[in-house]
Amino acid sequence: MTLLLAICVACVLGVSVYLILGRELKEVAMGVFLFSHAAHLGIIAMSGQPVARIAGEAVGLKTPPVLGVGPTAGVDPLPQALILTSIVISFAVTAYLLTLLVVTYRRTASLWVDDLAQEGRPGEPVWTDGAGEKGAA
């Protein structure tokens, strides 16, 4: 099972790296989203044996101390809690990144990395403490 998950993670990661290396920001964004999925899949595989042992007994959070049922009676809930938290965060970040892309496209009329690189060359003075009014024009 762990091997299967490992192969899945590797495939998803490979695709996401391929996308991140693209020259268009939409691809890059998709690659970043896939990357976080790969990370979450990786955490699922993390419910195996813990290292810390005391007198031969594995201890640590991986043996959930559910009262009345015993520590060995369930799946370790913590990786799931981690993934849940991380999914919520990546939702928010995904929404932000997509918004940023839309706004960037409206302002610069391009999502190609090469075009955007032209905008940011050093040398010219930049107005930022009040840049909004000028930049919007």
């Binding site: 991140i20 790969a38 955490i43 640590g60 009345g68 015993g70 970040v93 905008e119 403490d129 930049g135």
Partner: protein
């Protein structure tokens, strides 16, 4: 009045509450500023209040919801967190004072105040948290608000650069989640203290760490190095700091990179490059080489920059190398030096960015080729910036000196290999080149005018608010003055930094404060915790219960 130790979460809750409250009054600037300044003053005094016992060696902990340490969420306030927290509140306060007078109404209306407080909340949270996953969450809180602050105003130029920062940090976050998950899978816990205990136990005859542990450690090192803008991972920084409003640049420059440094300072000696795992781990070598390259290549880039902001940003990056070298040396003295340097550098970097903001407002540009002769118009600004520049260089009476001295002293230890002496030499070269950068910048801004003409005659009209530089001066004086005080009386900072790092790779006091009195024993492996005994009991009961079904 001494508050119960549980109240240390106030340092997280207070900025969060401020952010929420200011969201509801976002069109009333004056009210937002008053609320924000009050909240920052309150958290500044709170962190000073707790810093006093913490600097004496006490580790103040709070277990959220009363769950005991490796199971619940732990918040820890020790001398290291305390020093960084205090200077964070100070920098936040100064940046907010500056922003109150300088920010364009458009930017200020676009959620500047809530976002700035959320950023400070994320920074405080990362300094306080006691486990790896909460560190990830804290980073995310901090990054989300920094993404938004980066685009505040939404000019074409800002937007065309913003994606770099966002995408890179998202990749970093992906690695962080994956790394934290793998650490949990390997060691069975995420709590710093419990991790330190497992790692130390493995050196004292306990179960061996998995062979892939250095890989995961390197993965997390990548994340922290990205946050700290260490040599190969710094390229996003000058572009992004170039485009933000100056008060935001001061916040970013003062705080964000230091969070990465803090994460390394806390976690490398304790867990990921602890003496126990150093044998088969490349981490110390990676950190040392990255430190050397950061400080030399970074300062050479700063030499080439023609705008004040970019020169400051690159100098900031180059100087991340000094604390990094202190971390790589991993002796209490060197790490103490790293901490001293980071704390003073927060104030100095933010102060220099604010000075640069005043220059921009007076002269209309930060381009060194167009500036000149500003000394006649603003002599006090010239004094401020000179003092700030000398602190940046680290000349003896100023604050940058002491941290570097502590690191250098350890690097020149004759028992170490020649490679360390090369790195120490790099520190000195980098310091000398910083002097060149700063002298060039100071001369270009305040003395020389291009072609003998006073450049200021042709200055462009400033599109933001022009009236009232008083707030800007107050904030710059606060920061630079603070760093001068550190320079003149470094005793307190140095001694409390040494308290913070006195344990090196054997964090006995930290672990016992978090996990309980029995947690750190010489045998390590056989150490028992009350909670594990309870667990074993529960298992026995569970067995019988299960059998009854």
């Amino acid at each position: 009045m001494m508050l119960d130790s549980r109240w240390i979460v106030l340092l997280i809750v207070l900025p969060m509450a401020t952010a929420i409250v200011t969201t509801f009054v976002r069109r009333r600037f004056a009210l937002q500023r008053v609320i924000g300044l009050t909240s920052l003053l309150a958290s500044l005094s709170l962190s000073v209040m707790w810093l006093i016992p913490a600097a004496g060696g006490e580790v103040i902990t709070a277990q959220m919801g009363g769950w005991p340490a490796p199971f619940g969420i732990t918040v820890v306030f020790d001398a290291m967190s305390g020093l960084l927290l205090t200077s964070t509140q100070f920098v936040g306060l100064a940046a907010l004072i500056y922003a109150s007078g300088a920010l364009s109404p458009l930017t200020e209306r676009r959620w500047f105040h809530p976002l700035a407080h959320l950023l400070i909340m994320g920074v405080n949270y990362s300094f306080l948290t006691g486990d790896l996953f909460n560190l990830f969450v804290a980073f995310e809180v901090m990054l989300m608000s920094s993404y938004a602050l980066l685009c505040a105003g939404g000019s074409r130029r800002q937007l065309s650069q913003a994606y770099k920062y966002v995408v890179l940090n998202l990749i970093g976050s992906g690695f962080f989640v994956l790394g934290a998950g793998l650490v949990y899978g390997m060691l069975g816990t995420l709590n710093y203290a419990a991790l330190a205990r497992v790692v130390a136990a493995s050196a004292n005859g306990g179960p061996a760490l998995p062979p892939a542990f250095p890989v995961v450690a390197t993965m997390l090192l990548f994340v922290f190095a990205l946050k700290a803008a260490v040599f190969p991972l710094w390229f996003w920084l000058p572009d992004t700091y170039h485009t933000t409003p100056i008060s935001v640049a001061a916040l970013f420059g003062g705080l964000l990179t230091k969070v990465g440094v803090y994460a390394m300072l806390r976690l490398l000696p304790m867990v990921f490059a602890a003496p126990a795992v150093q044998g088969d781990s490349p981490i110390v070598a990676i950190v040392a080489v990255a430190a050397g390259l950061t400080m030399t290549v970074g300062i050479m880039c700063a030499l080439a920059m023609r705008s004040v902001r970019r020169a400051l940003a690159m100098t900031l990056v180059a100087h991340i190398g000094f604390p990094l070298l202190g971390i790589a040396l991993m002796t209490p003295m060197a790490m103490g030096g790293a901490l001293v340097y980071s704390v003073q550098s927060m104030l100095v970097v933010a102060g220099m960015f604010l000075c640069c903001g005043i220059v921009e407002r007076l002269a209309g540009t930060d381009d060194m080729d167009k500036l000149g002769g500003l000394h006649r118009r603003a002599p006090w600004l010239s004094v401020l910036m000179l003092v700030g520049a000398m602190s940046t260089v680290g000349l003896p009476p100023f604050s940058g000196f002491y941290g570097k001295l502590m690191i250098l002293r350890e690097a020149f230890d004759p028992s170490l290999g020649v490679a360390w002496r090369v790195l120490a030499f790099a520190v000195i070269v980098s310091g000398a080149l910083t002097l060149v950068v700063m002298a060039k910048m100071y001369a270009r801004v305040f003395w020389i005018s291009p072609e003998g003409e006073p450049a200021l005659q042709s200055h462009l009209s400033f599109p933001g608010r022009t009236g009232g530089l008083r707030g800007a001066y107050v904030s710059a004086w606060l920061l630079i003055g603070g760093s001068v005080l550190i320079g003149l009386a470094p005793e307190g900072l140095v001694s409390s930094s040494l308290v913070a790092t006195r344990e090196g790779g054997e964090p006995r006091a930290y672990v016992t404060a978090v996990l309980g009195d029995e947690a750190w024993t010489e045998e390590g492996a056989a150490a028992t915790l009350p909670i594990y005994e309870a667990l074993a009991e529960a298992k026995e009961h569970g067995g019988t219960d299960h059998g009854a079904h």
